[in-house]
């Protein structure tokens, strides 16, 4: 039901008395209102700011958090009020919505923060009042565009390649982003050079050279040094063809590639040469052949792969298509009108240039664009008057759409600059995430080394105390995973050492590339991850900002026997040696509230004498946990 109608419902029901005389049947029984009719004042405490409102006010919108029973989850019995740990300034607007039925968008607030508050209180943004709706929509669109660009920049081709990429994928990446390898860079510059050479050759071909011996006429260089130019052209076309074929081979989607603008330009650039090769040397076809040579100039567009500015210009023109279309349309209209008028005005004059309306088009265009060549001038007075009106209106019509195009260009240019900056920051961000992940692992390994599982209250308590309980519980979770799989976490160095000693074929670069692979950028919410962790009561150490601890001496891997022997100091138990490891997977949920971690599992048993040769005595007490971080009071 629409907002605020609930207040009027009793009135409508009372007015139903007016139907009684007309009713054909008796009225049905009214529903029994079980709730008390008395209205009460509710206290809502939002981060210390106390609001008071009638219960009925909140009940107006039963689909929201405050209007439904959902608010009971936030009721604090000791203080008899509803406590919300949210922004008190924003809550003012939310409460105003209940009071007035109109939701206003505060202009100074961040749009995302506002949206989050609305989502929390269960209010749909559609009901923002008309006064604030436009502003809200504009800012939301702007924000979404910016987010879309950011995600695009993240998926940029600067990210390191996945380790198992085919040669085809590598080739494609080399083409798209020349900075990835030296070969790609060399190829990039070579093609650029040949494009320049080809364009210059086309230009120089037509310059008149000194005539050869025995002839007086000046010859264009193209006809004098035919062979030289032909060889140069052939070389360029070969390079271009090779490049095009390689791109076609490497493209992930060939149909899409063939339809793209750049590939069309490539094809147009090399087609004339091949057509010229196959065409015979007869006179009537050579006329068409000459026109085809014009297309060779399109090779200059191949530079747009090398120049970002050119691409921006092209993109601007594409995005301003509607403005350009309008410009063209209005110009066409004006040209036709003025050409007609000028033609009829100058019709009487003898020997006039204005022979027909299409002939007057030329005059109109030259005048409107304020060029004024002077090859066609009106002679009659009427013609001069209309000519001056034409030139004045030309200035106006052309000047109007230009600022729109300019602002578009500036916006796109700035976007591009931001994208470049984002890409540069991207590397830093990825590195930070990787570091944080490594920090977590190192923290866990150090925890194990310091014998964190020997139980509390021992003399290890001193070194354990500066870890938060969140870390304790997280380490417990990781330890449980280790027990499940009966393998232990190590760091990269030890792992790479092991790899080298174990088998010959491993490369140490493998482990580092793996660790970089695990730096999967969950960067859409690195802020969120930090916020989540910060909300824990006691700890301010978040997972993503795990303490980076140097691994000085990692003595975890002191094994008495080969790699197959058990970590006897940790999981041996004399009376419970089993030959096979049966690990159960259970998921239990840990909610990381600062209670002391659950009773430490059986690792607190004293180490039994290590009996080498016994395969495994893993205890089937392994759990994998699903830990959900929830804020505590």
């Amino acid at each position: 039901m629409a907002a605020g109608v609930a207040t009027w419902l009793p009135f409508a029901r009372a007015a139903a008395v007016g139907w009684l005389p007309l009713a054909k049947k008796t009225m049905p029984k009214p529903p029994v209102d079980k709730k008390s009719r008395n209205d009460e004042i509710l206290f809502v405490n939002v981060s210390g700011l106390r609001f008071q409102t009638w219960k009925n006010t909140l009940d107006r919108y039963p689909d929201t958090l405050l209007g439904s029973s959902e608010k009971e989850f936030f009721y604090n019995e000791d203080t008899q009020e509803y406590f919300f740990d949210r922004d008190p300034e924003m809550f003012r607007h939310i409460l105003n919505f209940y009071r007035t039925g109109k939701l206003h968008y505060p202009r100074q607030e961040c749009i995302q923060a506002f949206d989050e508050e609305l989502a929390f209180y269960g209010i749909v943004p559609d009901i923002i009042g008309d006064c604030c709706m436009e502003e809200y929509r504009d800012r939301k669109k702007e924000n979404q565009e910016r987010l879309a660009e950011d995600t695009e920049a993240e998926n940029a081709t600067d990210t390191p390649l996945p380790p198992h990429s085919t040669s085809r994928e590598r080739l494609w990446r080399a083409f798209e982003n020349p900075h990835t390898s030296t070969m790609a860079l060399v190829f990039y510059y070579v093609t650029g050079f040949f494009i320049a050479v080809s364009v210059i050759a086309n230009v120089v071909e037509t310059v008149p050279c000194r005539p050869p011996k025995g002839s007086k006429k000046d010859l264009p260089c193209g006809e004098k040094y035919t062979l030289a130019f032909f060889c140069m052209d052939t070389a360029c076309v070969l390079i271009f063809t090779f490049e095009y074929l390689m791109r076609l081979f490497a493209a992930p989607s060939r149909c899409k590639f063939m339809r793209s603008v750049m590939s069309v330009i490539d094809v147009v650039a090399i087609m004339p040469y091949y057509i010229g090769l196959v065409m015979p040397e007869n006179e009537d076809v050579s006329g068409a052949f000459v026109t085809l040579r014009v297309f060779r100039v399109f090779r200059i567009f191949k530079f747009s792969r090398h120049s970002q500015g050119l691409r921006i210009l092209g993109y601007t023109l594409k995005s301003c298509a509607s403005e350009l279309g309008f410009l063209l349309f209005s110009l066409t209209m004006a040209i036709i009108i003025f050409a007609t008028v000028m033609f009829y005005a100058e019709k009487g004059t003898k020997g006039t240039n204005f022979t027909s309306i299409p002939a007057s088009f030329w005059y109109t265009i030259v005048t409107m664009t304020t060029l004024g060549y002077g090859d066609m001038v009106p002679n009659t007075i009427a013609g001069k008057i209309f000519g001056s009106i034409c030139s004045l209106s030309g200035v106006l019509v052309i000047a109007l759409p230009v600022p729109v195009i300019v602002s578009n260009f500036s916006r796109i240019y700035h976007q591009n600059q931001r994208a470049d900056k984002m890409r540069a920051q991207q590397k830093v961000r990825l590195a930070r995430i990787r570091l944080a992940k490594k920090g977590t692992t190192n923290a866990f390994l150090q925890y194990k080394e310091e014998g964190g599982f020997q139980g509390r209250g021992s003399d290890n308590a001193l070194c354990l105390k500066n870890r938060s309980s969140f870390e304790h519980q997280h380490h417990h979770l990781l330890h449980c995973l280790e027990k499940t799989t009966n393998h232990e976490f190590t760091d990269e160095l030890t792992f790479s050492e092991m790899c080298m000693t174990e088998s010959v074929g491993y490369r140490t670069s493998r482990s580092t590339s793996i660790s970089s692979q695990q730096g999967v950028a969950t960067s859409c919410c690195p802020r969120r991850a930090k916020r989540r962790a910060i909300r824990l009561a006691n700890s301010t150490v978040s997972v993503s900002r795990g303490s980076v601890q140097e691994l000085d001496t990692l003595q975890v891997h002191k094994t008495s026997a080969g790699p197959q022997s058990s970590r006897s100091s940790l999981n041996a138990r004399t009376e419970d040696l089993k030959l096979n490891c049966e690990d159960r997977d259970f998921t239990a949920a840990i909610i990381s509230i600062p209670t002391p971690p659950a009773n430490t599992p059986d690792e607190s048993l004293p180490p039994s004498p290590a009996i080498p040769g016994i395969l495994r005595n893993s205890r089937p007490t392994s759990f994998t946990h699903e830990t959900v971080k929830i804020s505590s009071l």
Binding site: T485, F489, Q518, A589
Partner: protein
């Protein structure tokens, strides 16, 4: 004339964009979910009122829309296992929590799952674990399902482990599991075989009480 066509085509594109955005917004708003009343949840689960309040506050803070979808879940889970790839296991876990299979975990699903895991009887917990392993929920755990689950768990360990993970380690693990559980050697493990076997294993039973006071 060409200009006219360009202008018209652009206008229709704008109109289409507007309708799309309206539908998008409606879809977003439909994703909100309100849980059942506190009293009902209190009756259905074994949590006290205060505990439910604490749980809900945390849940609502992280997911203001009231539901967790699978991607968020995977993200959360991978934060805890930075070394490996937790997404496959998170997927299975998500399916186990999403009891009504509507693609999102609401607060009720979440709290019912927790109630079983933390306060349930041994039978219920084992039932829950069986449900987790039975990927297609047909009442039998086959070797392929078990292999998938175990592989996903090993994936979470990542590459840097000691001893190094070999290709056949998950498979061996599955064999051991089936040897123990599959009493009648028919290639599948039913719920009764599973529960019987776990109840007879005292290590498992002892570890069951491990996480009861987690809240």
């Amino acid at each position: 004339m060409g200009a006219l066509m360009v202008i018209f085509s652009l206008q229709t594109k704008q109109r289409r964009k507007m309708t799309d955005s309206v539908e998008d917004e409606l879809e977003l708003s439909a994703a909100r979910h309100r849980p059942e009343a506190l009293e009902q949840l209190e009756a259905q689960t074994r949590f006290s009122r205060k505990e439910l309040q604490i749980l809900y506050r945390g849940f609502k803070n992280e997911c203001p829309s009231g539901v967790v979808n699978e991607d968020t879940f995977k993200e959360i889970y991978s934060q805890f296992f930075p070394q490996g790839d937790a997404s496959t296991y998170a997927h299975f876990l998500f399916d186990a929590f999403d009891t009504d299979h509507n693609g999102s975990v609401s607060f009720e699903d979440f709290v019912m799952g927790l109630s079983i895991l933390l306060r349930g009887t041994v039978q219920e917990k084992l039932n829950w674990a069986f449900n987790l392993y039975d990927i297609n929920k047909d009442g039998y755990i086959t070797k392929e399902e078990m292999l998938d689950i175990i592989k996903s768990i090993y994936d979470m360990m990542g590459k840097c482990t000691y001893p190094t993970l070999k290709e056949e380690t998950p498979r061996q693990h599955v064999e051991i599991f089936f040897q123990k559980m599959d009493k009648n050697r028919d290639g599948v493990v039913t719920i009764d075989e599973f529960i019987d076997c776990c109840q007879n294993d005292e290590n498992i039973m002892k570890s069951m009480q491990l996480f009861e006071n987690v809240i």
